[in-house]
Structure formats: structure tokens, C-alpha cells
Assembly symmetry: C2
Homo-oligomer: 164 residues x 2
DNA sequence: CGGCGCGCGTTATATTATTACATTCCGTCC
DNA sequence: GGACGGAATGTAATAATATAACGCGCGCCG
């Protein structure tokens, strides 16, 4: 029988990843249509490249990846696409890695939290609900008004722990 | 009457900051003595510079600050001192700012969380206890073994909210 | 003394990101 | 259709952050 998804966080090695990509692009189309944003060829391509796998992509690797394609390969090209995708909520920046991952919308509403596996370098996005509440309480006690939460957890995913 | 500390998180503008610095340096001496680490002149100086205020310091600003002092002003000088201080747990790196703040040990044991005010640019370090528990629960559900937690919250501190 | 490890100096380079300005593309209005 | 204006892209240069590689000097220990 097929391997189950590992609790829905890190996808099993055998999962249908093309489906992840198709879904991500379809979702992006939808979002852009709804909000009157333009998913131009560069932007779509960068999104696809980011979704090549579940590992965070570095800006200059993306730049390298579009060599030979009919786009400029100067840094602003990719940084502009990244800015657009970030603004549109289609990707996230992982601050502790200076890298970018596709948003899989598991956080639904509210801030996401990220699990970063140092074994396989994959990142899983989780709803940060419980964590967000705890943050809210701590912030309130300190008289602090929260704008944005950055929660990035490093460790070992289930698969990599089994390997060890 | 003197202004009270704002809930112990962000120090009041009028607080005795020299005391913060003295305490931080004294604590560093203690830690290094206990653990047989060497708080060399450069390392001590960088720590002092970081404690100049409660705002995060950028590596190259520290480098600039030691111009005229009898230290090399090449990047490795300051990065090496930062690495040492990070390893010793005397400072923290704020990933979302590429900057460094003194550890005020409010987190006691366990991972700290940081409140970053976009008004005054100060950073407060809080015990991440409740947040850490919530993270632990979410991670466990996802079959993920936590190594390191990065929790950085942007927003407005009490003082800056009052000004607005 | 001789070797060893650590801290530091020095030079060069890698990596990540932005500024500034020119050009092109596209929808809107006349 | 043609003029306009704003958004998107191209291009060149540079800024900001961080690391690699190598050598020297000094204290420690055998
Ligand atoms: Zn997938
Ligand atoms: Zn893994
Ligand atoms: Zn202070
Ligand atoms: Zn403030």
C-alpha cells in the first residue's frame, strides 16, 4: 500500500509532487484573477521553480535556474518576482535561511509556523494557531501590539529521524 | 515620580542603562570564568558596543564603531567576536534583521522569544515558555523533533503605541 | 627548546539584496 | 487608430552581509 502522508506535515517521499505543483499554480491563477493581479510569465516561472521541491529556494539559485530562458538573469528580475509573490501571499520567506518556499496555505488564516528539517532540508508549513495564541498572551502581558510573527523551528522530520 | 518599567519587557526611556551595561559585562565575565572561556578585549568591546542600547546592532555598524580603536577593522574581526558571543549565549542573532542583541537572560532556561518594535527599533527578550510548549505540541503532532526555535515578533511597544 | 592550539591580522571572495535609470508593454481615453 | 500613463521588465552599478584561506605570535605543555 502507498505510504501515508506523515501527519500531513512533511509529504511522504512517494507523494505525487506534480500534483503539489499543479495545485500551487492553479491556486495562484485563482488568487491573481480574484484580486486583479498579474501573474506574468516571469512570476509564474519563479513560482514553479520554487515549487520544484519542498526545500526552500535561494534567490540566486532561482536566478541560475532561469539561465537560457528568455528572461533577464540580473538579480532584480528574481527579486521583483519574489516581492510580488510574497505580497500576494503565494510564497513565504524563511528568515533563518534567506530562502523562499511556496505557501501551501495550511496556515489557513493566521500566521504560519515553519518546521525546517536539517536532515532533508525540507520545510513544512503548519497553522500557527496555538502558537499564535501563546504569542498573543505573552505580547499582551508586555503591552506589545503584534504585527507580524516569525516562527521558524529547526529539527528533524519523522522520515529523517527514522533514518538516523 | 520615576516612570515604571513597562511590564519588565521594554525598559522605560528613563531607566539606568549604564546599569544594563555593567550587569551584562559582569555576567559575561562570570560566565567566561565559569566555563573557562576567554573574554578577550575585542570580544568584550563588541559586547559593550552591542549593549550601547536596546536596539539590535548590525555587524558592519560594529565594525565601523571600532574604527580608531586598536583592533583590525576587517569583517572577520567582528564576525569572530559575534560567533564567540553567540556560542557563549551572551548575545542573540535576530534573523529577521540580520542583527545582534545582548542576551538579558530573561528567558532563563528554554528558548527566548523576541519582541521587535518598529517604532523605536528596540528588541525585548521574553521567556518563550508558553510559546515553546505550543510549538512542542504542534511539532509532536507532526512527528518533528525540535532542535532550535526562532520566534521573532514585530509590532509596537507600549511606549510607541502611546505616541501614536 | 619544540610543537600545538588559539586568537588575531590580512586579503580576497562569496552571498544576498537594492538603487537608479532606460525601455517596453498594455489598458484607457480621446 | 493614436496619445498618454502606469506597471512590468531590462540593464548596470553598487550596497550590505558573511565566509574562506593563509600566516603570525603567543602561551602552554611536554
Ligand atoms: Zn510535493
Ligand atoms: Zn527530513
Ligand atoms: Zn538598558
Ligand atoms: Zn517602541
Amino acid at each position: 500500500m502507498p505510504e501515508p502522508m506523515q501527519n500531513g506535515a512533511f509529504p511522504a517521499p512517494s507523494h505525487d509532487h506534480d500534483r503539489c505543483v499543479r495545485q500551487a499554480v492553479a491556486h495562484a491563477e485563482q488568487v491573481c484573477a480574484d484580486r486583479d493581479l498579474r501573474l506574468t510569465p516571469i512570476r509564474r516561472r519563479v513560482l514553479e521553480l520554487i515549487w520544484t521541491n519542498h526545500q526552500p529556494s535561494k534567490a540566486y539559485d532561482l536566478l541560475e535556474a532561469i539561465r537560457g530562458e528568455p528572461f533577464s538573469t540580473a538579480p532584480p528580475t528574481v527579486y521583483r518576482a519574489l516581492d510580488f509573490l510574497l505580497d500576494a501571499g503565494l510564497i513565504h520567506r524563511i528568515e533563518s535561511l534567506n530562502a523562499y518556499v511556496g505557501c501551501d496555505a495550511r496556515h489557513v488564516a493566521g500566521s504560519p509556523m515553519f518546521l525546517i528539517c536539517r536532515g532533508c532540508d525540507r520545510v513544512a508549513e503548519l497553522p500557527g494557531t496555538g502558537v499564535g495564541k501563546a504569542i498573543g498572551r505573552a505580547a499582551k502581558r508586555a503591552g506589545f501590539a503584534v504585527d507580524q510573527e516569525t516562527v521558524e523551528i529547526s529539527g528533524l522530520c519523522g522520515g529523517c529521524a527514522d533514518d538516523a
